[in-house]
C-alpha cells in the first residue's frame, strides 16, 4: 500500500513543470522519542492550493509549522522559494518574510490596535514608510470586510472578525505563500463562513495556499489537491473529488466516515 502511495506523490511531482515553491523531501521529526513526522515528502507548485487533513495528532499542524520553521525538522530537506531551511538566521528571516501564517487561535497582538497589528511587520521588517503601510493595511482590511474596525483593539472584535484581521495582517507582508493552521476550528459555527469566504476569495486571487482544515466543503471548492495524513505520514493525496468519492486506503475511508458522521 505505502509503495503505491509514494508512487502517487512522485507522479504528482513529475507533472508540475515549474520547480515547486515548497519542497519537502523525506522530512522526519521527533518530539522527544515521539516520531511525529515520518518521511514526509510534499511538493507544492506556485499558485497551488493544498488542503491537509487527517485525525488529530496526525502531524499535519507540525508539518505546516515546519514550512516556516516554527518547528525545526531533524532529518530531510525543506526548500521554500529556493531557500533551504537551516539554522542560519538570515535564511530564516528571508523565508518568514515570504510565508504568511494564520493560526487556529488568531494570535493577534492584544495591546495593539487592528491597524497597528497590520502595519507593525511591514514597517519594521519590510521597512515600509508608515503612511504606505497604513494604506496597504486599510486596503487589506477592506478586502476582509472590516475597515471600520481599524482603530479598535482585538479584544473588542468577535472571533470571526479577529481571524479575518489575522488573515489581513499576514497579507500585509505581501507573502508568496499562505499557511493556514486550522483557521476555523476555534470559531463559533456562525462565524466559520465569513472566514471561509475570505479564504476562498484569496484562493481565487491565485495565492499559493497550504491549509490544514476539516472543512471538506472548502476543500472541494478550492483545493487543487488534498493531502491526507495519519500518524505522522502522508497516507494518500490527490484531487478532492477523487479523494472523497474514491478513497484508496482504509485509513482515509475510516477518517472520511468519521467526519461525515460528525457533520
Amino acid at each position: 500500500m505505502s509503495q503505491a502511495v509514494s508512487e502517487h506523490i512522485v507522479a504528482h511531482l513529475a507533472d508540475t513543470s515549474a520547480p515547486p515553491i515548497i519542497a519537502m523531501e523525506k522530512v522526519n521529526k521527533w518530539f522527544g522519542s515521539l516520531h511525529v513526522l515520518r518521511d514526509v515528502s510534499l511538493a507544492v507548485a506556485e499558485k497551488e492550493r493544498v488542503v491537509v487533513c487527517g485525525p488529530s495528532g496526525s502531524g499535519k499542524s507540525t508539518m505546516i509549522r515546519c514550512i516556516n520553521r516554527l518547528e525545526s525538522h531533524q532529518e530531510g530537506r525543506i526548500v521554500v522559494d529556493g531557500t533551504e531551511l537551516t539554522d542560519d538566521l538570515r535564511s530564516l528571516d528571508t523565508i518568514r518574510r515570504e510565508v504568511g501564517m494564520v493560526f487556529q487561535s488568531f494570535n493577534l497582538f492584544p495591546h495593539l490596535t487592528i491597524l497597528e497589528n497590520c502595519t507593525l511587520a511591514p514597517i519594521w521588517v519590510r521597512k515600509m514608510p508608515k503612511a504606505d503601510a497604513e494604506e496597504v493595511a486599510m486596503n487589506f482590511l477592506s478586502r476582509v470586510r472590516i475597515p471600520e474596525q481599524a482603530k479598535k483593539y482585538p479584544g473588542q472584535l468577535s472571533g470571526g472578525q479577529q481571524q479575518r484581521v489575522a488573515i489581513a495582517r499576514a497579507l500585509c507582508m505581501r507573502p508568496k505563500i499562505m499557511l493556514f493552521d486550522e483557521p476555523t476550528s476555534a470559531l463559533d459555527p456562525e462565524m466559520i463562513k465569513e472566514v471561509l469566504d475570505v479564504m476562498i476569495e484569496l484562493a481565487e486571487s491565485g495565492m499559493t495556499m497550504v491549509c490544514v482544515t476539516h472543512e471538506m466543503g472548502f476543500a472541494r471548492q478550492v483545493a487543487d489537491r488534498v493531502v491526507f495524513m495519519d500518524r505522522g505520514e502522508i497516507v494518500e493525496s490527490g484531487a478532492p473529488e477523487r479523494m472523497f468519492s474514491d478513497p484508496q486506503t482504509d485509513r482515509l475511508k475510516l477518517f472520511l466516515s468519521q467526519i461525515l458522521r460528525g457533520h
Partner: protein, 381 residues
Amino acid sequence: MGETAATADPRYAGVREQPPAGTTGPWAWAKTNLFGSWWSTAVTLVLGYLLLRFAVEFVSWALLHAIWSVPYDAQGRPDNTACHNAKGIGACWAVISDKYRLILFGRYPYAEQWRPAVCVVLFVGLYVVSAMRRFWRKELALVWVVTLVLIGVLMWGGILGLSYVPEDDWGGLPITLILATFGLAFAFPLAILVALGRRSTRLPAVKLLCVLYVELIRGVPLVALLFMASVMFPLFMPEGVNINKLLRAQIAIILFAGAYLAEVVRGGLQALPRGQAEAADALGLSYWKKTGFIILPQALRLVIPPLVNTFIGFFKDTSLVLIIGTFDLLYMGKIALSDPPWQAFSTEVYLMLAVIYIAFCFAMSVYSRGLERELARAHRR
C-alpha cells in the same frame, strides 16, 4: 437603536430604570456589609469603639498635648524640661524642629543644605514626569540624564561657584533617594536582560550565566552583600584604587534588586501565551523587535503588581546601608537620637521617618493601581 429610542418604545413602558429603593447607596452598603447579622454587628461595634478610642488618644497625644518647641539656653542648647514633663501625655515635636535638617540632609554643610533640598525636589519632579504616560517617549531618557547630572553637580559642587562636598558628608533623604533611584533605574533593565537570557534556548552559556547570577545573588542576604561590597571588595582591588563606599553600596543594591526583579519579569514572560511569540516569528520580526514590540509590553503589564511590590520593598531596603555606615535617612534618625537631650524621644523621630517612607511607598502603590486601570481600559481585553 439609541437609548432614547429604547425608552420611547412602548414595549419597555413600565420597565423600571432604577433598582429598588434602599438597595444602593452608602446606607444600604453599611446595612449589608457592617450590620448584616448580629455577629457582624457586634464585630462592627467593637472595632468601631477601639478605632475611635485609638483615634481620640492619638489626637490628644500628637496634637492637643504636644510640645511644639522648647526654649534654648545661652549656649544654644535646647531645654527639654517641658518635653520631659509631658512624656506619656503629649508628643515632643520639638525634637523634630530641632533636628529635622540633620535628619533630612545629614552632615552636609549647614549653609549649603539648599542644594540637597533642591535635589529632593528634582527627584520628586523626575518621578512625577516619568509617571505620566503622555511623557513616555524617547525624550524622557534625555530628561533623566539631564536631571541626574544636575543632581550630581548640586550634590558634589566644585564647579559653578559651588563649594565641593565629598560624598562622605552626604546624608539623609538624598542618599535614600539616590540609592533607590539609581538602584532601580539600573536594576530594572538588568533584570529584563537577565530574564530574557534565562529563557534563551539558543545561547546555553548566557542562560547558565543568568541562572547562576540569579541563584547566587538571591541566595545571599542583602546585608551580607553590602558587607562584602564595603569590606571584602577593597581587599581584592590593587593598591591605590579606591571606589568610594557609596558607589560600592549602590552596585550591591543594583545586583541584588536585579536578581529579584529578573524573576518577576520572567514570571511575566512565562505567563504570555506562546502564540504571541509564534505570530511575531511568523511575521518575520527579529528577536529584539519581537521582544520589544510584542513580548515585553504585554509581559511587563502582567507583572505590574509584583513589580511595584518589589520596587517598594527595595525602596525600604536601602535603609540597610546603615550597617556599613552610609548615612541614609533612617541612620540619620538614629544619629539625631544619640544627642543626649533627645534620647528619650525616639517615637516622634521614627514617626516622622515612617511618614516620609509611607509617602513615597504609598505614592508608588496608588500609581501602580492607576496604571493597571488605565492600561486595562486602553486594551479592553
